[in-house]
């Protein structure tokens, strides 16, 4: 087990869990139900999101074996049948509106066993979830070729005109009935919306009018494959051509292993509405040239060109040295659609070399360090505020709409708050425009602590601002609250004076700060003042209104101060 874990670590896979079917059932349903379940050890492996070739057991094992140099990477062959003998998929122009692209191929004389069959179905599901973006971009259909006869037609028809027996059903339904039938199906209902409201639904027929599938929803029962199927017709339809080609390549390369002639795939011809034809699968082998110095330089190693070629070959990128030893030619197989730049090749070379074998060095870059002035001011103030006897709090930046509006006696539209479109709970509806609710909620959660409670926070609030490039900006605010049996206005006022003293802002009107009595919806009437400095209003202080105190589930008087510190940076 440890050996395998090590191997996964080196290769870049995560061995998530070592379990067994029995364990899984045990955890989910209890020990009783698990009796009789399989004890065979199961490995749960996490595969990186861009490696579609490692999504099934076949691909994973192949990749690891090449990595360990146990086998050579197989060469995937495309067999083009003689003129007129191959399968053809004809696309009609109706599909353009709903699902324009399609590719197809055939796996000839394949031998399935139960495991291989399960793996085949499983890979399709994984690809659907992953690169196909839950069938929106591409949908895969696999059919028993012996039950149907080509040429096949991919067209789109009105829902009432499509009628067939869906997979594992016992009777025929029209397409509209199928939509209703699967509306409650836990698996398929998520895909219905992809075509539901379109005037025409995509459908694939064979030459006798047998329905192969209605992508992306479901295949026909007639063509379903089983363990005994010998010839498979694969079709991928979708809205993204590049991905459809990749998906087809992956499926055929992975499972052609089990064909009578291993790793050979029979090509099919796709005929477009304009008459053009194209042979699929593409199974393109691409050649790229990379200089060995580039790899060595980027990774920080110094390997000979031939050893680099050997490393890349271990990663399924067959390479050899060309020229007079100063270049490496790499053949990128169709299974590695993730190689789109030389840096991808560099990464693979580094992985084969072993990340932990690379020598760690420090860059010789000389730079002069700087702290952001706003943060520097924040740090300095925090220390002194703590010295003044206040405790720092760190609160959430997201809160409910009531927190910044109703509970403070204001209307939400006056707050210029940034609103979230998809909150999971009501607690995260808006971004805070004031630090006060956060502090009050903190006090509410700490009612049992000895009085007085003196809290402060210096942190960002978010407001809408049409002058910024995104439409909103952060403001660095400082907020302090004093919670005790008596409101302590003088204490909060004293704190303001102390902060101004630290900021070297004198208490006069011309070049310093001043406070003027005002009214505030969150404050007790007659006990509220606005603070002016540097020619602008920077905040308010005062005794909080009893309504506010009650709404935050507090019982004692409370005074608060909140200012923006940005003018003082």
């Amino acid at each position: 087990d440890e050996e395998f874990n090590e191997l996964c670590f080196e290769f870049g896979l995560e061995l998530d869990e070592i379990t067994s079917e029995k364990d899984i059932i045990s955890k989910e349903k209890g020990e009783e139900k698990a009796k009789g379940a399989s004890d065979t050890v199961l490995y749960k492996i996490d595969v990186p999101a861009n490696r579609y070739d490692l999504l099934c057991l076949e691909g994973l094992v192949r990749g690891l074996q090449v990595f360990k140099e146990r086998i050579n990477l197989p060469r995937y062959e495309k067999i083009i049948p003689a003129q007129g003998e191959g399968q053809r998929l004809i696309i009609t122009e109706e599909t353009v509106q709903v699902r324009p692209h399609a590719v197809a191929a055939v796996l000839r004389n394949i031998t399935f066993t139960k495991e291989r069959y399960d793996s085949f179905i499983d890979l399709q599901e994984k690809l659907h979830q992953n690169i196909c973006r839950r069938r929106a971009l591409v949908a895969i259909g696999t059919h028993d070729l012996d039950t149907i006869s080509g040429p096949f037609t991919f067209t789109a028809k009105a829902p009432s005109e499509i009628k067939f027996k869906p997979l594992n059903q016992s009777q025929e339904y029209t397409a509209s009935q199928i939509m209703d039938l699967y509306r409650t199906d836990s698996h398929l209902r998520h895909y219905l919306h992809l075509i539901e409201n379109k005037p025409l639904y995509p459908v694939i027929y064979d030459s006798n009018g047998v329905v192969l599938s209605m992508p992306p929803i479901i295949n026909g029962d007639h063509t379903k494959i089983s363990v005994n199927t010998r010839n498979v017709f694969i079709e991928c339809t979708g809205t993204d051509m590049t991905k459809a080609k990749i998906v087809l390549d992956i499926i055929v390369t992975m499972f052609s292993e089990y064909c009578e002639k291993p790793f050979s795939v029979e090509a099919a011809e796709v005929v477009y509405p304009n008459g053009k034809t194209h042979i699929y699968p593409e199974l393109a082998y691409r050649k790229e040239k990379v200089k060995p110095e580039l790899i060595n330089k980027k990774v920080g190693i110094s390997e000979t060109p031939s050893s680099l070629a050997k490393l890349l070959t271990r990663m399924c990128l067959k390479s050899h040295v060309i020229g007079n030893g100063n270049n490496i030619e790499i053949e990128i197989p169709p299974t590695r659609a993730d190689i789109i730049h030389a840096c991808d090749i560099v990464e693979d070379a580094a992985i084969a070399y072993g990340y932990n074998n690379i020598q760690m060095t420090i860059p010789k870059t000389y730079t002069i360090a700087n702290q952001l002035p706003l943060n520097k001011l924040t740090e300095l103030l925090r220390l002194d505020l703590a010295a003044a006897g206040f405790t720092e709090a760190l609160t959430f930046a997201l809160c409910s709409q009531e927190d910044i509006a109703d509970k403070l006696g204001m209307d939400i539209s006056a707050t210029k708050a940034v609103r979230i479109a998809n909150p999971k709970t009501a607690e995260f509806q808006v971004a805070r425009t004031t630090l006060l609710p956060g502090l009050l909620k903190t006090i509410a959660a700490n009612r049992k602590m000895p009085l007085p409670l003196k809290l402060f926070e210096i942190s960002d609030v978010v407001v809408k601002d049409p002058d910024t490039d995104v439409g909103a900006r952060n403001h660095r605010h400082f907020c302090a609250v004093y919670y005790n049996k008596s409101p302590g206005f003088e204490i909060i006022h004293g704190l303001l004076d102390r902060v101004m003293q630290l900021l070297e802002v004198p208490p006069n009107e011309e070049n310093g700060y001043t406070i003027k009595a005002t009214e505030g919806s969150a404050f007790f009437p007659g006990r509220c003042a606005e603070i002016f400095a540097k020619g602008q209003s920077i905040g308010k202080l005062g005794v909080l209104h009893p309504d506010v105190i009650t709404k935050f589930e507090l019982t004692m008087p409370c005074s608060a101060l909140e200012i923006s510190i940005e003018p003082f940076v």
Binding site: A49, I340, E347, L374, A397, N474
Partner: protein
């Protein structure tokens, strides 16, 4: 390391995803991992010339890359969100660096809040802080990245809580981690995948208390 300005929680998809080569059909952009904004819903301003370049690299490729070969949509890039990583700030800063007359090597860092649309539980919050580090210079290697990370973690693990990520030319991502024993020196690197870095590495450290290797960070070399 100089501190980067990160005082914008609201970010456009452009800076948070597109400029970082994260494809528009990537699962992370889905509703469930990102907080999208209702108001303001779209970023009014995006850098025109740069946006065109980003569009080209996604759809056709460029700078040696084949690209993703899909249809890149401007409306998708305009969608506002609460940033999911501070790498968006790094992207902005690197953009400014690129527009300088003469290139000068830089080292940047930031420590600030990020937002992920997840259900809260014992190990996951919807808002948390990330430590981010970027180094840009000529001739940097993967070995340099590993060395810088090792220095960083050695200084970090002196009895404090671990959980920083460092990325040479990349960004760290660190959800809160259990406190690590003093002096994190046992580090191992594992190949990983990020849309914007290649090579990418996850950094693991041995936690004596849990008696196993835990992931303490993510890193990588930015794609050309």
């Amino acid at each position: 390391f100089t501190e980067m300005p990160t005082d914008n929680f609201v970010e456009s998809s452009f800076w948070n995803f597109d400029a970082l080569f994260q494809p528009q059909q990537h699962p992370a952009r889905d509703q469930h991992d990102t907080f999208f904004l209702q108001d303001p819903a779209e970023a009014p301003e995006l850098p025109a010339g740069y946006t065109a370049k980003v569009k080209k690299v996604h759809s056709q490729g460029g700078y040696g890359s084949q690209g993703y070969k899909y249809e890149w949509r401007l409306e998708e890039a305009r969608r506002n969100l609460l940033r999911t990583h501070t790498t968006s700030a790094s992207a902005r800063v690197l953009y400014q660096l690129a527009r300088q007359e003469k290139f000068s090597p830089v080292k940047y860092f930031s420590i600030d809040r990020v937002f992920r649309n997840e259900s809260l539980d014992a190990t996951h919050l919807a808002e948390f802080h990330q430590v981010e580090g970027v180094v840009a210079d000529r001739g940097l290697t993967l070995g340099h990245l590993m060395g810088t990370l090792r220095q960083f973690f050695t200084k970090l693990g002196t009895g404090g809580t671990g959980g920083g990520d460092a990325r040479g030319l990349g960004t760290p991502q660190g959800p809160p981690h259990p406190p690590l024993s003093p002096g994190i020196t046992q580090l191992r690197f594992k190949p990983a995948y990020n849309p914007y870095t290649e090579p990418s590495m996850e950094v693991f450290s041995y936690h004596k208390g849990l008696k196993k290797w835990v992931e303490v960070g993510n890193s990588g070399v930015f794609r050309p």
